[in-house]
Amino acid sequence: MSDARQDVLAAVRRALGRGDGATPPSSGRAVPQVTGDTARHAPDGGPTRGPDGTPRGYRGPTGSAGQAADVDLLVDRLLDYRASVRRCSPDELPAVLAQELEGVPGVVVPAGLDRAWLADLDAAGVEVLVDDPAHPLSHAALDAVGAALTACRVAVAETGTIVLDGAPDQGRRVVTLLPDRHVCVVAHGQVVPGVPDAVALLGEHPERPLTWVSGPSATSDIELVRVEGVHGPRDLRVVLVG
């Protein structure tokens, strides 16, 4: 049997009209002249192009973070997804978290989470389980605990998205997956205007496992009726600190 890898690559080269030894094109992203309409975006006189040749006439990374308008927009978007949102100052955070975790028997937190945030949980009767990579909790244990509390890497105002990247204050992916309530703390300084800002930030560590969360788990598979909470956490609570 011949090698599938070689065969597939050879078939791709043939399809592109290249011999096996031909020089590949450089990454000049010329738009193929397939139709009259795509021809509108020919290299000369086309929209703004980045150094890689892609026409990037859209709004790119802004470099800004924590703007008040963006924080307000994030809140609006999150509420639209039917996530719950609380806003507080850093001083108020432990008390607010205790309120957000009221009624759950226990909460799992990643090992790197700021322990000061947990100050009021004991008094609220919420047991804290720490998921330490060296001694990870079992799936069964995580499935039984009522809530997870984490920080995040970045939040996107325009789309109402929170991104977790597995840093020590966010933990393993499973930590925020099995418990039915996810309480996520977002600092104002982590709020960026749009998706390109978030991608630029996450691109610093592209190897980390990323989870983009935009509201609670949802489905519209039955007659397009939206139902919140299928497999992921049914209850997303965002606490904005700043």
Binding site: A4, V8, A11, V12, R14, A15, L16, P24, P25, R29, A30, V31, P32, V34, T35, D37, T38, H41, G46, D52, G53, P55, G57, Y58, R59, R77, Y81, P133, H139, T159, G160, T161, R172, R173, V174, L177, V195, L202, P206, E207, R208, P209, L210, T211, W212, S214, S217, A218, T219, S220, D221, I222, E223, L224, V225, V227, V230, H231, G232, P233
Partner: protein, 524 residues
């Protein structure tokens, strides 16, 4: 009659395949739910009769038409709202189109780069020339871990290759975990929409499907969508927790980092991508993107185009294996299965730019009426009408051809209204590709098939190829006008009957314009 002028609907080609899935509707005395389509497909890419014949049946189902009309309109309006609120939507589409065109140009290099990136991060990369090869790879991995069950994230690529059936043949149950896919699987159906595979089923039908097919369904299950979703949650959670192997598709993979992404809503994707120890991802070779930065384009284009949301609830990205977090063994299967065949067509190639958002389905007036099953392929709608024929080599020597072949009839399943092109987030010119593929279908191997249609077109080409010839042809209309007394006709003989089935024929004029013009010496 096997061939008719203009490739008109004629005889039906029997599929002849039997024996799919469990029969639903025997449990607890529930109303029987029959699989849709009734005849199980032999090939996920090519089944059933030709499009016109299949549409003849689906159009006769008023429940289906009502379900589709409501659903497509809902998504359509949502999409317009969320794409309209972005000031740079058109610029994002331009960027998406350019990135995809670049990917096709540099595909060999990008695939090699992706492979190296994934391997560098502890993953294993496999290459599959066709469906059988891809299935054998996945079955081999599952068998290597001795499992009898794998959990699956909704994936077009694995549907295309019939992976579930291949796993079943090896004694391994593939559990679809997306709600709609689970519905389709339990019903023994074929999916009828890329994004909402059970769009053809209403809540009452789904309730019956669950009651009959889920051994742990609550006895008092209602048809409330919330209750149904919660029943699926309970039913699947145990399977997630015990699964050792998961199978997924990929929405995209980044060559320069090896990052793979799955975009979803329910969290079943996160379950599959996080809990099992082994993850196998099957991905079409066209899904590679050059750089991590390209995410900023596609993570804006895809959610807004598909579900009409600013962002889908969950997107997972992983890069090889992360020690201590998620699957500790990762396999990426790079699938050709006809993609290089499509790539070789410089016009049709754009079909490979597709990001499977299904916006074109939702805006298509033909899809809205005929439904997904009429397309006889896991890829329905406008994109399916250009993708499926190319994956199977329509017009190639020995490939699908003729108006009775389900695949060759697909490029004709469009009025060329262009709504799909306007909706496509990566600006695939579907109408132009359809026209191009019609030519391939009527000219297999490059020469026109000697059919009555071809003969009619050749005659018409002569009549329409010059002013004098056309004047004589137009006089034929005047003769017909005299015969009909200039009246509208309610019923014409075949093939005109195809027209008068739904509408009256126009009253014909006594004289053509050019005769009027000549008579009046060049004045109207």
């Amino acid at each position: 009659m096997s061939a008719v002028p203009l490739g008109m609907p004629g005889r039906r080609v029997p599929d002849g395949q039997v024996g799919r899935g469990p029969t639903v509707g025997r449990g607890r005395g529930d109303a029987a739910v029959h699989p849709l389509p009734a005849t199980p497909p032999s090939d996920p890419l090519r089944w059933g009769p030709s499009f016109p014949e299949a549409a003849h049946e689906t159009l006769a189902d008023p429940q289906l038409r009502a379900n589709l009309r409501r659903a497509t309109r809902t998504i359509r309006d949502k999409r317009l709202a969320v794409t309209g609120e972005l000031p740079d939507w058109e610029a994002l589409r331009d960027a998406g189109a350019a990135v995809k065109a670049d990917v096709m140009e540099r595909l060999p290099e990008l695939l090699v780069e992706l492979e190296a990136s994934v391997v560098a991060r502890g993953g294993t990369v496999h290459w599959a020339r066709d469906a059988a090869e891809a299935n054998a790879i996945v079955v081999g991995i599952a068998q290597g871990h001795g499992v009898r069950e794998v959990v699956k994230v909704k994936s077009m690529a694995t549907q295309e290759i019939g992976l579930n059936e291949a796993l079943a043949d090896a004694g391994i149950e593939a559990v679809e975990t997306d709600l709609a896919e689970r519905i389709v699987q339990l019903a023994g159906d074929m999916p009828s929409h890329i994004l909402v595979p059970a769009i053809h089923r209403n809540r009452a039908q789904i309730r019956d499907i669950f009651a009959a097919g889920m051994d742990d369904a609550p006895p008092d299950l209602t048809d409330d969508p919330h209750d149904l979703a919660m029943a699926a949650r309970a039913h699947l959670r145990a399977r997630f927790l015990r699964a050792e192997v998961a199978v997924s598709g990929a929405n995209l993979a980044i060559a320069d980092t090896g990052t793979v992404a799955v975009v979803e809503s329910e969290g079943n994707g996160r379950m599959c991508l996080t809990l099992p120890r082994v993850l196998v991802t099957v991905m079409g070779i066209e899904k590679v993107l050059p750089t991590f930065r390209d995410l900023e384009v596609f993570l804006q284009l895809l959610p807004r185009s598909s579900t009409g949301e600013r962002m889908n609830p969950y997107t997972s990205m992983w890069t090889g294996v992360t020690p201590g977090d998620g699957p500790q063994e990762f396999h990426l299967v790079l699938l050709d299965n006809g993609r290089t065949r499509a790539l070789a067509d410089d016009v049709g190639r754009q079909a490979l730019h597709c990001i499977r958002c299904s916006a074109c389905l939702n805006v298509c007036p033909v899809y809205e009426r005929a439904g997904g099953h009429a397309y006889g392929s896991v890829y329905p709608g406008p994109i399916g009408a250009i993708l499926t024929p190319q994956l199977l080599g329509v017009g190639d020597t020995g490939g699908p051809s003729g108006s009775h072949d389900p695949t060759a009839s697909l490029p004709f399943a469009s009025t060329l209204c262009g709504a799909c092109y306007d909706a496509c987030p990566v600006k695939i010119d579907i109408p132009s590709a359809l026209v191009h593929l019609r030519e391939r279908a009527t000219h297999p191997g490059g020469a026109a098939t000697p059919t009555p249609t071809t003969a009619a077109m050749r005659v018409a080409a002569v009549a329409l190829g010059g002013g004098t010839r056309f004047r004589w042809a137009a006089r034929g209309v005047s003769v017909a006008a005299r015969l009909t007394g200039g009246r509208r006709l309610r019923r014409l003989p075949w093939p005109g009957s195809l027209w008068t089935a739904a509408r009256d024929a126009p009253a014909l004029p006594p004289r053509s314009f050019r005769d009027l013009w000549r008579r009046r010496g060049g004045r109207a």
